[in-house]
């Protein structure tokens, strides 16, 4: 049994007909329930539910406070290599894009790490492109060893690995994995990922589970919103997170809500995600999974990020650069995507405090 079995159950589900059958009373009923089931969750992604955004937000707000308190965990990404053998149509790092590639050596990583550590943030997210022969597991492992000197929590957002490979990195000190399916739509996935290691839909889909089996502390999954009809990808993301949470009770499951952003290349975004839709997805996920972390990156604009802090977010990146060597080495020419919220960590801290929330720089340290 893997999540693919759950996916197959709903692959040919008649979403259109289901959404048409959702009534206002149904939404009211769902919002009055203590816990909701899968189809309730799907109902909250319907057009009808979009008329209940304030009610959904209220409920999401209450659930978030009672499960997490008024705190936002801050983390910062570090890109150490942007060589990539994939050619994902929507990504700035695609092998097809003729960009200047960078691959930091260990000294450079240390320089970047020192610079980032000055912000006071203790949780770092290490990112690479998908080039296992260049950014090898061994290279990543050695990088983790360096980052450990400066940070108490180390996450990775790299290409999909096997359970054994995850185990190696976890042993070295990695405590969380971020990996996005991009789209759960198997057909569309094949179209968008024509080449490279990432082409394998199943291997990617099973990666979070492999990490859970390797006893990772936390997994963060998501879909790149905008690739497919958002209702479907949001629904499958929720089901996937729920599947992991039920099966691996010792892992902390989080969901990221990346909206597709402009980047190098000429991919056209087929499904625009408005702010309202974003809020609808986020609050629906919170109501479905009261204990799941929700991560929002600097892809989102400052004002919007401020506004959604109360609606269910638990983790945010801050002061980010999406370029290899973007902190101390001053490379900002090729980014994976355009950052929208360019505020410094200090500014972010102030904004969160102003909302009467507490910014958290260090959530835990593995001993």
């Amino acid at each position: 049994m893997s999540f693919y079995d759950t996916y197959l159950k709903y692959k040919n589900f008649d979403f259109k007909n289901f959404f048409n059958s959702v009534t206002e009373n149904k939404i009211k009923y769902i919002l009055s329930k203590e816990r909701i089931n899968r189809l309730d969750f799907l109902s909250l992604l319907s057009e009808k539910a979009s008329g209940f955004l304030e009610d959904m937000a209220l409920k999401s707000h209450k659930l978030t406070i009672s499960n997490f308190g008024k705190v936002i965990l801050l983390f910062i990404p570090i890109y150490i290599s942007d060589y990539c053998s994939n050619s994902c149509l929507y990504c700035g790092f695609s092998a097809k894009n003729k960009i200047q590639r960078r691959h930091l050596n260990y000294d450079q990583i240390e320089t970047e790490a020192k610079k980032i550590a000055e912000t006071g943030i203790k949780h770092i997210l290490l990112l690479t492109g998908d080039a296992p022969k260049i950014a090898t597991v061994d290279y990543i492992k050695n990088s983790v060893k360096i980052l450990k000197k400066y940070f108490s929590g180390i996450g990775i957002e790299i290409y999909a690995l096997t359970q054994n490979e995850y185990n190696i990195l976890i042993q070295e000190g990695v405590d969380s994995l971020s990996i996005y399916q991009e789209t759960y739509n198997e057909k569309l996935y094949a179209k968008l990922h024509p080449a490279g290691h990432k082409k394998d839909y199943h291997f990617r889909l099973n990666a979070p589970e492999s990490a859970c089996m390797a006893k990772i502390r936390s997994v963060n999954i998501g879909a790149l919103l905008g690739l497919d009809e958002w209702q479907k990808d949001a629904f499958f993301t929720g089901l996937h997170a729920d599947y992991l949470q039920n099966k691996y009770m010792d892992a902390e499951v989080s969901i990221s809500l990346p909206r597709i952003r402009p980047h190098a290349g000429d991919f056209k975004i087929s499904h625009q995600i408005t702010d309202k839709t974003f809020v609808q997805i986020m609050t629906a996920i919170r109501i479905f999974m009261p204990r799941a972390g929700i991560t929002v990156s600097t892809r989102e604009a400052p004002e919007f990020r401020n506004n959604i802090i109360k609606l269910g977010v638990t983790k945010m990146s801050a002061g980010s650069s999406a370029s290899v060597g973007g902190y101390a080495l001053h490379n900002n020419d090729t980014k994976q995507f355009d950052i929208s919220d360019t505020r410094s960590v200090k500014k972010m801290e102030e904004a969160i405090t102003k909302l009467n929330y507490q910014p958290v720089f260090k959530d835990w340290q593995t001993l």
Binding site: N25, K28, Y29, R35, L53, E54, L58, N246, E303, L311
Partner: protein, 258 residues
């Protein structure tokens, strides 16, 4: 509308299980069965007392009633397994309610030993119904061990306190893909009704019926309460209406002109 509870391949119409202990006279048992509508009845295994042979509880239980022997008296998994095998050998089918109670003061079950016994007996082909504290982690282990249902306690045995563990039972109902049958602690028909409204698959009631001034009337009342609660659960509850709100403090920003 047909609403069947299926356990161990058996299809049951009645979701009330009854116990046979503590009655003023075992002769009441057939009337209790008729009044409650119960199709499953629990019994215990004991040494025959040669000095005081009177009647045997079995002679009062109609043939079409499914027997659910319990392992009362077991203090660890070995004893529970032994009692289960003996009960099966007595020729009363392969259903077994695992009860492992090492605590004579409070009569609380040992979840760890219960999981061990369940694992062994399920492999031998028993339909295993373990009695536990409503503990999700133990319940999940019971699912893996091959249990046919999970029987969480509503309150300590014999206390008639009602659904004191309600929130924990709700979690089991949500998370466990097996019938949840609330056992122990149910003191009043309204407690049984409440358990059913929450989505429990059934209730097991003994003391509350047996120790009533009129056990037959009480049995009937429990039978009806379980049906009422079940139907309410199936019907789905109406929404609690909150006062209308005029402003949108949390999402107002989405509608502001930019």
């Amino acid at each position: 509308m047909e609403d069947i509870l299926e356990i161990g391949g058996e299809k049951l119409n009645c979701r009330l299980f009854i116990g046979t202990g503590k009655y003023p006279s075992d002769k009441l048992i057939p009337k209790i069965i008729t009044a409650s509508g119960a199709q499953v009845i629990t019994v215990a295994l004991r040494r025959v007392d040669f000095s005081a042979i009177t009647q045997n509880v079995m002679q009062f239980i109609p043939k079409n009633i499914r027997l659910l022997p319990n392992t009362s008296g077991a203090r660890n998994f070995e004893e529970a397994v032994r009692i289960a095998r003996l009960a099966k050998a007595a020729g009363c089918g392969n259903w077994i309610k695992i009860e492992v109670i090492p605590d004579n003061k409070r009569l609380l079950p040992d979840g760890h030993q219960t999981v061990k016994a369940t694992e062994i007996l399920a492999k031998e082909g028993f339909v295993v119904m373990p009695y536990i504290n409503p503990d999700l982690i133990i319940a999940k282990q019971l699912v893996s061990a091959g249990a046919a249902s999970v029987m969480p306690l509503g309150a300590p045995i014999g206390t008639n306190l009602g659904l004191k563990t309600k929130e924990m039972i709700k979690i089991l109902i949500e998370e466990i893909p097996l019938p949840i049958i609330v056992d122990a602690g149910i003191g009043k028909p309204s407690d049984a009704c409440e358990a059913m409204e929450l989505g429990a698959a059934g209730c097991l009631v003994n003391t509350a019926i047996a120790a009533s001034n009129n056990p037959v009337l009480m049995a009937e009342s429990f039978g009806k309460a379980v049906i009422a609660g079940r139907k309410a659960y199936l019907a789905g509850f109406a929404t609690k209406q909150k006062a209308a709100k005029a402003s949108s403090p949390l999402t107002g920003f989405l509608y502001e002109e930019k």
